[in-house]
Each structure stands twice: as C-alpha cells, then as structure tokens.
C-alpha cells in the first residue's frame, strides 16, 4: 500500500476500533469472559428519563438557620446581661433576625456597648434611639458572619442529605449544590418516590420535652394557654381504615435534649414483633439523660420529631445506661427510614421542594424501545435513500453514517456522557443531518463531472470546494449546541451532547473516511465513470 494512505488508514482504524471497544459493553447484555479486564466495562449511562428515577431540586431555607442562630444568641445575651447586671426592660428577637434591647438609661447603654464589643463582637448596632430615660437598641448579625451561617447551613444540609441517601442505599445517586442555596438530587431507579421525598426532606429535629400534667389540656385547647406551654399533636393512623387521628398534648416548651445527643439509632422489635427505634446516646447525652430522668421520675417525657409527638412514655425510673427508645406503631419501612434520618442527623434548616420530576421504570423502558425503533427505521430509510440517489457513492456515505453512529455511542460511553430521550432524538437527528456533508460533497463532484473533469480531478475539486462550506455550516450548528449545553438541564443536556458529538463525528466520517475509500478505490481500479 502506498505510504500516503497509511497514516489515514491507521487513524481511521484507530478511531473505529476504539469506538467499537467502548460500544461493546453497551451492546451486549453482559461482557463475556474473554473480554479483557483492562478494557472498558461500563454501559452507557442512561438518564433518569430512560431508566426511571427521581430528580429533585431542594431549596434550603437559610433564613430559618439564621433565625435560629439569632434566637440562641438572644438567649445567651439575656442570661449574660442579667449576670453582668446590665439592666434592660425588654430583650427579644424582632423582624426575624434582629435583636431589640431596651436599656434602663444612657449609662447602662454605655456599659452595654463596652460589654457587647468585648463579648459579642458578632452583633452590630444598626440603630439606637432614646425614649425618655430608656435607650432602645437594634442589633443584627455581622453580615459576613450571617453569610457564613447561610453557607454552612447549605453545606450541612448537603452533607446530611448525602448521608441519608448513602444509608438508604441508592445506586449511583447524584447530589450536588446548585447556585447559592439549592441542592440537586438525582436518584436513579427509585420505585417509591414518596418515601424518598420524606426521607430527604424531613428536617428531623429530635427534641425531648416534658408533658405538662399540672394543667388541664381541655382548658389549654379552649385557648387558656399557660405561659411557656405549647400544644403538639401525635398522629395515629388506624391500621385498618387508614384514617388519621390527631392526639393533642400540652407540652412544656423547653427543650431538655436534642438529636445532637445521639450516637446511634437502630430498628428493633418488641415481644409483639412490632418495630421500634432503639437510641443509644453519646457520653454527654447519656449524662444529660441520666440527670433529666432522675429529676422527673413519674412524669411524661414527650419525644418530638419536627413538632410531631412520636411517643410520650412515663419516666418510671432513672435511666443511666444512655439508651432510650422511640415507639410509635411504625411500619417496618417507616421505622427503617426514621432510624436512617436519626443516624444521619437533622437538617440545619427546613428544605423546600422547588422542582420534582419522577419517571417510572416502565415509562423509561417504553421510551428506550421507541427511541431505538426510531433510530433503526429512520436510519434504514436514509440508508436506502442515499443508495438510490447516489448509487455506489451512496454506499460509501452509508458506511460513513454507520461509523458515525458507532463513534457517537463510543464517545458517549468513553466520556461517561448520559444518554437521555432527547439525546436519542439527537442521535436520530444526526443520522439525518450527517449525510448532509456527503450530500454537499457529492453534489459538488457531480457538478465537476458535468464540467467534463475526469473522475480523480472531479473528486479532488469536489472535496476541496465543499470543505469550507461544510465547516461554516457545522460551526453554526455547533454554536447552538454549545449554548444548549451550558443552559440545559438533564435531558436537554443529553440532547446537546449527542448533537455536538454527532457534528464532530460526521465531519470526520464524511470528509476523512469517505475520501479515503474513494482514493483507495481509484488507486486500485481504473475508473472511467464515477458511480455517483
């Protein structure tokens, strides 16, 4: 073989064989034993719209995280001011994330300022007004510190959600931060979206509070609420009818212990084989629990998760082992999920679902079947059309087209691209558009033949003249595809990816591969007339 063919042949074979190797695992059910270990093993990654699954975008309500931080600081400040004898007539959280303090007189205000700068440098004064003797001061968090709080709330939420998903056991989940306060979650193959949503979205703030038994629940429900108490409900579902009853409790609104005290949470079963959750506490939690049970023997301790009472057992004796239980007529799945949530920890702030897209597995399979059918039928029609129209040259273009498809699938597999339903559409579209480069070349060659040029010269000028046109035409489509790639989400990104790979691959196959075939044939056979 002449040396000028050699490098082109090597290049073409390299690309073709490489693409085939990467395609292979996708095309077979399971890679056979003889398939070398160091060869690619992965099938093309399918998007959620094809394999079924759930896509969620959550928003972390960072404002809530800031509010609860301000609430904590306010409580500390209140206690400290009392201790330091800096007298105030009013001190509370206002407008969500600000603290208002009314100080006794201007002298106290001076004392307060010195103390605040030393002990609470994170609080800045935004306003102070004198009303008679009193001085009213409005404080807020240092903006930088507030931003830190918001950021860490999102980071923490991301971490917690990742933990929950890991423990729930989903294969190949994708969890990523999106923008400032959003979290993108993709869970392939989830068959119970409702359960997954509850698992991910629960704030899971676990609190232990005492039930107020000194006061009448009826009176409180009637509106006569004792100071420092709240009413919380326990939801009880009738296992037969599914009807939900809400049992009210009068609770002393003072948190004695939170989920921070947990070391572990497991599902266990009681003598009736009903699941319950066994908690074990960390050393600090165990000490705390030991003290609070000792102080409150005979009283009811409510175990509260996200303001829902789960159970309110009577403390029969002091519990020192650092073990506690949550009972609550769980189904096994509910108990399992609750244990996961408790182990993974609570979210630092509530989350909201901004976007949800769920595709059932049967619909995904449907889409795959329809997509493959479209590719095959569309492909066959185009292949036949090209042969009828361009005869032997059409066959060459068809070879290029098939190679084009192999390259696209190979590249997708090699770079772990995701194939989506619009992606398959992009593949089909590429089939239609990929022949364009060859059409341009062939039409040119026909023109040159009409001008009376011999085959080789016609071929040469045809390719040369069509080349720039092909470049220009493809670059513009490529620009559109790139913009789509930047902008698109999930399925549409898949479309942009296959489209751009398709453009690049079709230029290679139409210009390099077909040219090579023609040159090779012309060098072997004396051709009088081009079959084009």
């Amino acid at each position: 073989m002449k040396s000028k063919f050699r490098w082109r042949l090597v290049l073409i074979l390299f690309v073709l064989i490489g693409a085939l190797i990467y395609c292979f695992p996708t095309l077979v059910k399971e890679t056979p034993d003889w398939w070398p270990q160091f060869f690619p093993q992965d099938k093309i990654h399918l998007g959620l719209d094809l394999q079924g699954g759930m896509h969620l975008i959550l928003e972390v309500e960072t404002a809530k995280a800031v509010e609860s931080a301000v609430e904590r600081i306010k409580n500390d400040l209140k206690a400290d001011l009392k201790k330091e004898q800096i007298f105030s007539t009013y001190l509370d959280r206002v407008q969500g994330n600000k603290i208002e303090v009314v100080l006794l007189n201007p002298e106290v205000k001076e004392k307060f300022d010195v103390y605040r700068k030393e002990k609470y440098p994170l609080l800045t004064e935004i306003e102070s007004t004198q009303e008679g003797d009193r001085v009213k001061v409005l404080l807020e968090l240092e903006p930088r510190y507030r931003e830190d709080l918001e950021q860490s709330a999102v980071d923490q939420a991301l971490e917690t959600i990742r933990n929950r998903i890991d423990q729930f056991g989903v294969s190949e989940p994708e969890i990523a931060r999106q923008g400032k306060d959003r979290i993108l979650i993709q869970l392939p193959g989830i068959d119970d979206p409702q359960r997954a949503k509850e698992l991910l979205g629960k704030t899971a703030l676990l609190e232990f509070k005492l039930v107020d038994e000194d006061y009448s629940l009826q009176k409180a429900l009637g509106g006569d609420m004792p100071f420092g108490d709240v009413i919380l409900y326990q939801k009880v579902e009738d296992p037969k009818t599914g009807a939900v009853r809400r049992i009210p409790y009068l609770i002393q609104d003072k948190t004695l212990m939170t989920g921070d005290a947990l070391k572990d949470a497991r599902v266990s079963f009681d003598q009736n084989n009903m699941p319950y959750i066994a908690l074990s506490l960390n050393p600090a939690g165990a000490r705390n629990f030991d003290r609070l049970t000792a102080e409150n023997v005979g009283r009811k301790l409510a175990i509260i998760l996200d303001d829902n009472v789960y159970s309110a057992p009577v403390i029969r004796q002091r519990i020192s082992g650092g073990e506690a239980v949550i009972e609550g007529r769980f189904t096994l799945d509910e108990a399992k999920d609750l244990a996961i949530i408790l182990r993974a920890g609570s979210l630092p702030a509530p989350v909201q679902i901004l976007e949800e897209r769920t595709v059932g597995p049967s619909l995904g399979q449907d889409s795959i079947n329809k997509g493959i059918k479209s590719i095959i039928i569309g492909g066959i029609l185009v292949v036949i059309f090209m042969i009828i129209y361009y005869q032997l040259a059409g066959v060459v273009a068809d070879l290029a087209l098939i190679m084009n498809l192999i390259i696209i699938i190979g590249v997708l597999a090699a770079f772990r691209g995701t194939l989506t339903l619009p992606g398959i559409a992009g593949l089909v579209l590429t089939v239609g558009m990929a022949v364009d480069a060859n059409v341009l070349i062939f039409e040119r060659i026909r023109e040159e033949v009409r001008l009376g040029k011999p085959p080789r010269a016609a071929l040469e000028t045809g390719y040369a003249k069509a080349f720039l046109t092909i470049m220009d035409a493809n670059v513009t489509t490529f620009i559109a595809a790139l913009v789509l790639l930047q902008f698109g989400t999930g399925p549409i990104k898949g479309f942009a990816v296959t489209l751009s790979i398709g453009i690049a691959a079709s230029m290679f196959t139409a210009i390099v591969v077909t040219r090579f075939v023609f040159d090779l044939v012309l060098s072997k056979v004396r051709v009088k007339r081009l079959s084009i």
Binding site: S367, G378, L421, V428, V431, A473, N474, L484, Q486, L499
Partner: protein
C-alpha cells in the same frame, strides 16, 4: 438519480414578493395569536405547575378522573395521552406543592378511591415551582440571545455584515413562526420545545450558509453579473442539495414524530415545523434579503474576504 435537473434557472429572486407576502401572513398570524393568548402557552417548565401521567389498565372516562380530583379539592385538566384506548392520561394542575406530602400522593389517593388501587400506575410526575419556572424562563431567553449573538459574530467574521443581517432575519422568521404554530395549535411551550428552537436556529442557519457560501464564491466568478442574478444562480445551484438534506432530515424527524412516543411529541413537532420553515426561509427569506440590502446600501469596492 436526480430530483432537481442540473442547470435549473428558477427565478427565486423574482418571486420574492410572493414569498414575503406568505411569510408576512404567517408572522402576523403568529403575532396575533400570541397577543390573543397573552404570550406563549407556557408549560409547567416555565409557568410552574404539576403534570402527572397515569396509565389505567383500561380506558376510562377523563371526566371521571376530573371528578375524582375535584373530590380531593384539586382543579385540573385531564387529557388523553397517546393513542386512543390505551388508557393513558395526562393530568395538569397549576398548583404546586413544596411540602413533602406532595400532590402526587394526594392524587394517587384520590384515584385509588374512585378506581381502585390496582387499576392504574403513575408513570411520570413533574412538578416545577413558580420560582424555578421564572428562572428557567430567564435562562431560556438568555440562551436564545447568546446563541444568536454567537452566530451573528461568526457570520460577520466569515461573511459580510449584510449576509449576517439576512441570516438573523431568517432565523427570527423561523423561530417566530414555530412559536406561532405552537400558539395557534394551543400546544405547550416547554423546555424541550425551547431546545428544539435552538436546534432549528442551528439547522436553518446551516441551510442558509450553504447558499451564502455559493453566493460568495459566485461573486468572485461573476463580477460582471448583476448581484441579484448571481444570488439567483447560487440558489439554483444549491437547490438540489438543499432539498436532499432537508429531505433526509425530514424523514428522520417524521419518524421521530410518529414513533418517538408522547414524551417527546412536542419536541419533535417543533423540529418538524422548524425544518420545513427553515428550508423555505433559506431560499425565500435569507437570500432575497441580502439582495434587497445590497440594493438599498450598495457595497462599493469591497474586497472579498475569506
């Protein structure tokens, strides 16, 4: 085989008046429809809302589904999805729910109550909150604008400015008419449709550029020729290619439209319209506009650029 005989001399430029009337009517119809409907009929991607695709084991009356939703306190529209007799329906609600109980659970319960739990399967749920919808709308608009700017820069660089004007006008023409057809047929304007629009932009341009390339080439060869004739010859010379490529593309898009399934039905419908309009515009809009621009602002002594 040949579809277009070689050496055709159809007077495309002479017929541009008629073409402009047709395009004008289509564009006016599109704009009127858009105004009458108060903008595009945004799908949930852009407007926010919920779509649920349910498949029953046998066909049911959509009114019954609507009724069962009403019992659950939800107002929604129900539409048959896919072929008749399959028992597949699309439920659309304007409401969204950001809390965990979720609408899908409520709807599942409502349907189970009326039809029995085993008779149906929820195959797809899409819920987009209003905030995300607004974000996507802004981003989508940005995407189209960025694509157009990128293309404008590329064409101005490779060709001359007057070509870029014609090309961008042709694109605007295609996009507007496609949006108009969606508005007239009351189809939803969704994220995939936007993706289809961007593809149409690329495709229509592809066609236009092939013609422009030939014009540029012929301008060098036919310096003596009147510009309008040069353009006309170029369109004729590339006609065979234009029809062939559009033909193969149309074949596959039609296959996708007919067999790709309901999920991408709107997407392929947009492509179908776009391919047809895009082919038409590269012959009847993009090229005549270059001629008219040339007549209005004749280029003097410009040198060819490559």
């Amino acid at each position: 085989m040949k579809i277009i005989k070689s050496g055709t001399t159809i007077d495309f430029m002479g017929k541009r008046g008629g073409a402009f009337i047709i395009s004008g009517i289509l564009i006016i119809a599109a704009i009127v429809s858009l105004i009458a409907h108060g903008g595009p009929n945004y799908g949930i991607d852009f407007a926010g809302g919920t779509v649920i695709q349910v498949r029953f084991s046998q066909a049911v009356n959509p009114a019954d589904i609507r009724e069962s939703l009403k019992d659950a306190g939800l107002a929604g529209t129900v539409q048959r999805f896919g072929a008749e007799g399959v028992g597949e329906y699309l439920i659309r609600l304007q409401t969204t729910s950001s809390d965990l109980e979720g609408l899908s659970a409520t709807i599942n319960d409502a349907l189970a109550k009326r039809f029995g739990g085993e008779t149906f399967e929820i195959r797809r749920t899409e819920m987009v909150g209003p905030k995300v919808g607004k974000d996507l709308r802004t981003k989508g608009l940005q995407a189209i604008i960025f694509a157009l700017i990128g293309i404008l820069i590329y064409i101005s660089w490779r060709f001359k400015f007057r070509f870029a004007v014609g090309a961008v006008a042709a694109i605007a023409h295609d996009v507007l008419i496609t949006i108009g057809v969606f508005s007239l047929t009351n189809k939803e304007f969704s994220l995939p449709v936007l993706a289809a629009l961007l593809t149409i932009v690329g495709y229509s341009l592809n066609d236009t550029i092939v013609v422009y390339d030939r014009i540029r080439e012929n301008m060098g060869r036919m310096r003596r020729e009147v510009f309008e004739r040069t353009v006309n010859i170029s369109v004729n010379e590339t006609l065979s290619r234009t029809i062939l490529t559009s033909g193969t593309t149309l074949i596959v898009v039609l296959v996708l439209f007919l067999m790709g399934g309901g999920v991408i039905h709107d997407f392929t419908f947009a492509l179908l319209i776009g391919v047809i309009v895009g082919t038409y515009s590269s012959i009847f809009v993009a090229s005549p506009l270059v001629v008219m621009w040339e007549k209005r602002f004749p280029a003097k002594g410009e040198k060819r650029r490559r």
